[in-house]
């Protein structure tokens, strides 16, 4: 083929493209959760102002809005890069599923971004120009716009985890949407949205409580600190409890449609019924364990039946392990899941049938019957089309240590945050929070980075666990990239690394100075 003359792809391109997307997504997720979380807190503060007309609440709302603004721009900027990176770095992906994937991104732009960008301007510059009611509405609409934006981008992400509402069209050589409702209201998307947004509220709440504790420690702006802390702690507790509940639902979704991801999260090499949830085990963080030969991860301590309950809501539920998935297994209901080798064979058969179909269909002579025969084979094996690009069955096992430890850190910190917010509310109810020992305040301040770590770990589980697929079971990363040399992508990776890191340093410094300066009460 003529364009093979220009083939300059190497394996490094795939890794650098993954690294660049991960870098952008990780940075993006440093800014977005604070935007979503602070939107709720500043909205509540301004609602108090609207109801009481007490200038204290106006100053409180303006203080949180100021911090919101410093953070907001970076979220917008990194989000722009993410959207375009689907085209720049994942061009094959963009064609192969663009018919489905592009729609949520377009809806996000039309419905959410304009709302966000319009009303954020009113929120900042409209205090003396619009009525208090309009201003309050603008503040909430800014947060609502950000949340709707999260909805659509999570619909898109959920579709990558669980592709629904589409069919492959052999004439156009791509997947095409057949049900927008299935895509937009996918149960995976609903769980993902609820879990992600509530986790973002947790970060906003931790940030709010941490800042308040710093003021209490410094004995400054005490009233603002106590009242904001109350809002933050309530938002945080409700969000943390909701995140736990939605996390369970997400776990069940993963067990159903991405069993390999769940097995990697649990370092479950050999599955079965009545599976315990691993509380702790030794999984070397730096190398892939020998899952084919080890019975289980060393030093494993289980919570009995925990994994079966998490995955199936049944203590006796069946959960497949990595080797079960690789070698095929029979479910309790008698249905058989084929081995990966069989899926690879059937995938290749599908791709060959597609080649035959196109040859027959676009040949000059009438080969209708031959084309129909190939189409039948393609349809019978289409479910495993993506596996046709897999060379070795072990390629479909994600890097277990990242999934295992990231999942544990996320869940552990989530439990810690529930206790933390409950303790804060108890202290606000029973104690004088202005006279607590200093270390209490320090604990709250030091929890701020832990909030981010927990949230980023959630994304690591979601994205690393899906590897090597860009779209689960449909398109592996090496069939999704753009035709670029690895040097170009490596260069842009480092450019973005330097840019984002510099801007993050500037933002953190500005935030610290703004906090130190405090509200103009």
């Amino acid at each position: 083929m003529i364009n093979n003359l220009f083939l300059n792809i190497d394996a490094g391109t795939i890794d650098w493209s993954r690294a660049q997307f991960a870098l952008t997504a990780i940075y993006h997720w440093l800014f977005v959760p604070l935007t979503l979380g602070l939107a709720v807190i500043m909205g509540i503060a301004e609602t108090y102002y609207y109801r009481t007309k007490d200038e204290f609440w106006k100053e409180t709302a303006q203080f949180w809005q100021k911090l919101f603004g410093v953070n907001f721009a970076m979220g917008v900027a990194t989000g722009l890069i993410l959207e375009f990176e689907f085209g720049t770095n994942w061009s094959n992906y963009s064609w192969f599923v663009g018919d489905i994937f592009g729609a949520p991104l377009a809806v996000e732009g039309i419905v959410a971004f304009f709302m966000e960008s319009t009303f954020v301007a009113v929120m900042y510059f409209g205090w003396k120009k619009v009525s208090p009611g309009f201003h309050l509405a603008s503040t909430w609409l800014t947060g609502l716009g950000a949340t709707i934006s999260a909805w659509w981008i999570l619909v898109a992400n959920a579709w990558m985890q669980y592709p629904v509402g589409c069919e492959f069209n052999p004439d156009t050589m791509r997947n095409e949407m057949v049900s927008f409702a299935e895509v937009a209201l996918s149960p995976f998307a609903v769980s993902k949205f609820c879990h992600t947004v509530t986790s973002a509220w947790i970060i906003g709440a931790i940030f709010c409580v941490g800042v308040c504790c710093w003021y209490l420690m410094k004995k400054r702006h005490t009233k603002l600190a106590i009242e904001s802390m109350r809002i933050g702690a309530w938002v945080g507790l409700v969000a943390a409890l909701l995140a736990a509940a939605t996390g369970h639902k997400s776990g069940m979704d993963v067990a159903e449609v991405q069993p390999m991801k769940l097995a990697a999260m649990e370092a479950l090499y050999n599955g079965g019924t009545e599976q315990g949830l691993t509380a702790i085990a030794w999984v070397n963080p730096f190398c892939q364990p020998d899952y084919q030969n080890e019975e289980a991860a060393p030093l494993k301590i289980d919570i009995p039946y925990g994994l079966s309950i998490m995955a199936t809501n049944d203590p006796k539920g069946f959960v497949p392990g990595i080797n079960d998935i690789l070698n095929g297994y029979t479910r309790p209901d008698g249905t058989v899941e084929p081995s990966i080798d069989e899926k690879i064979e059937r995938g290749k058969k599908a791709i060959q049938a597609l080649a035959g179909y196109r040859q027959a269909k676009f040949a000059s002579s009438d080969n209708g019957e031959i084309a129909a025969a190939h189409l039948k084979v393609l349809q019978e094996n289409m479910q495993y089309f993506g596996y046709g690009y897999i060379k070795d069955k072990n390629d479909i096992v994600p890097f277990i240590p990242v999934n295992f430890w990231a999942f544990r850190i996320m869940v552990g910190l989530g439990c810690l945050f529930i206790l933390f917010f409950a303790a804060i509310l108890f202290a606000l109810w029973k104690k004088d929070v202005t006279t607590l020992p200093k270390w209490h305040y320090w604990v709250a301040i030091l929890l701020i980075p832990l909030g981010y770590i927990g949230s980023e770990c959630g994304w690591l589980v979601a994205e690393f666990g899906r590897q090597p697929w860009t779209i689960q079971d449909m398109l592996p990363t090496w069939a999704a990239v753009s035709d670029l040399d690895s040097g170009s992508v490596a260069l842009t990776f480092f450019l973005f690394l330097i840019l984002f890191s510099t801007m993050l340093a500037v933002e953190i410094n500005i935030l610290l100075k703004q906090i130190k300066k405090g509200p103009s009460l």
Binding site: A73, W95, V122, A479, S482
Partner: protein, 381 residues
Amino acid sequence: MTYEFLQHYWCFIVSLLGAILVFLLFVQGANSVARSLGQTEEGRRLVYNSTGRKWEFTFTTLVTFGGAFFASFPLFYSTSFGGAYWLWMIILFTFVLQAVSYEFQNKIGNILGPKTFQFFLTLNGIVGPLLLGGAVATFFEGSNFIVEKNNLIDIEALTPIISRWANASHGLDALLNPWVLVLGFAVVFLARVLGILYVMNNVNDEDIRSRGSVRLIGAAVPFVILFVAYLVHLLLKDGYAYNDEGFIYMEPYKYLTNFLDMWYLLVILLIGVVLVLIGIGKTIMSKNYIGGIWPAGIGTVLTVLALLLCSAWNNTAYYPSTADLQSSLTIQNSCSSEFTLTTMFYVSLLVPFVLAYIIYAWRAIDKKKLDKEEIKSDHAY
């Protein structure tokens, strides 16, 4: 609604978003001349605060333009963004710099200093319009790519990629074409014209307004020369046409023919050009006239809309390939499925509602012109 109608409809929507984006480049244009418009620190802050209340619209329109293009013409998204990698990356890079510059520049704790971020705004103000204008020019001049969908069934290939750039420059080669640069610089100067007109209208400051009238001439003259030169070149050049079977071929005077066949686009183009000239001319001639942004802005949208539609309608390949003519993208061979276009058609019905609240909110913010008092407030940039 037929599939053909939907293809044309979505081409219209994407072109409209592109046209609005070019109009909103007034933010970039004003930033690129901020130093000469506001010669004091206070004057520069007035300019940055004026554009700072609109930058998110430009940004959001860029994102929505990208999303709409992705949803309606995914093969373009796949081919252009993945192929012209460096061109798009530089555009994105400068827009990231712009996004943070407003909020960060005058905040305490800005460790890079305000001048760094003002430089970023200037950089984005020049490079953004130049490369976006250059990207638009490739719709007429062509790009060096190949599309081969059958690559997807080559399972022996390391990566079965369908769109490839046919040289190693990944988009920067477009800048070697002088006509791409002509249109690129025309957009740079158009953005400056619009930026100056916008600031004159939005900022209540006599110094800035009087300097704006003078600077306007300096931006308008090169803009008119470059734009007219490109328009003449476009009308005289061969274009990329396709027949009912989708076969792509070169046709003499294709774009001139398009304007003659689609006379309504010619009318829109002429009205647009006249409105831009009215906006410029009236502002230069009349000392008290500050509303030039309105005719010039509307004229810009109409002109760009007509040009973009001319590149794609009437059996024209809107993203031509200079490496392999048959790889050229048309609205037929690069669009989404009928189902997706139909679904998105209903989503697009929300656009008037969105426009209505933007106008409402924008009017509320702008009913009092920006002045020196306002930038002393706490949230000024």
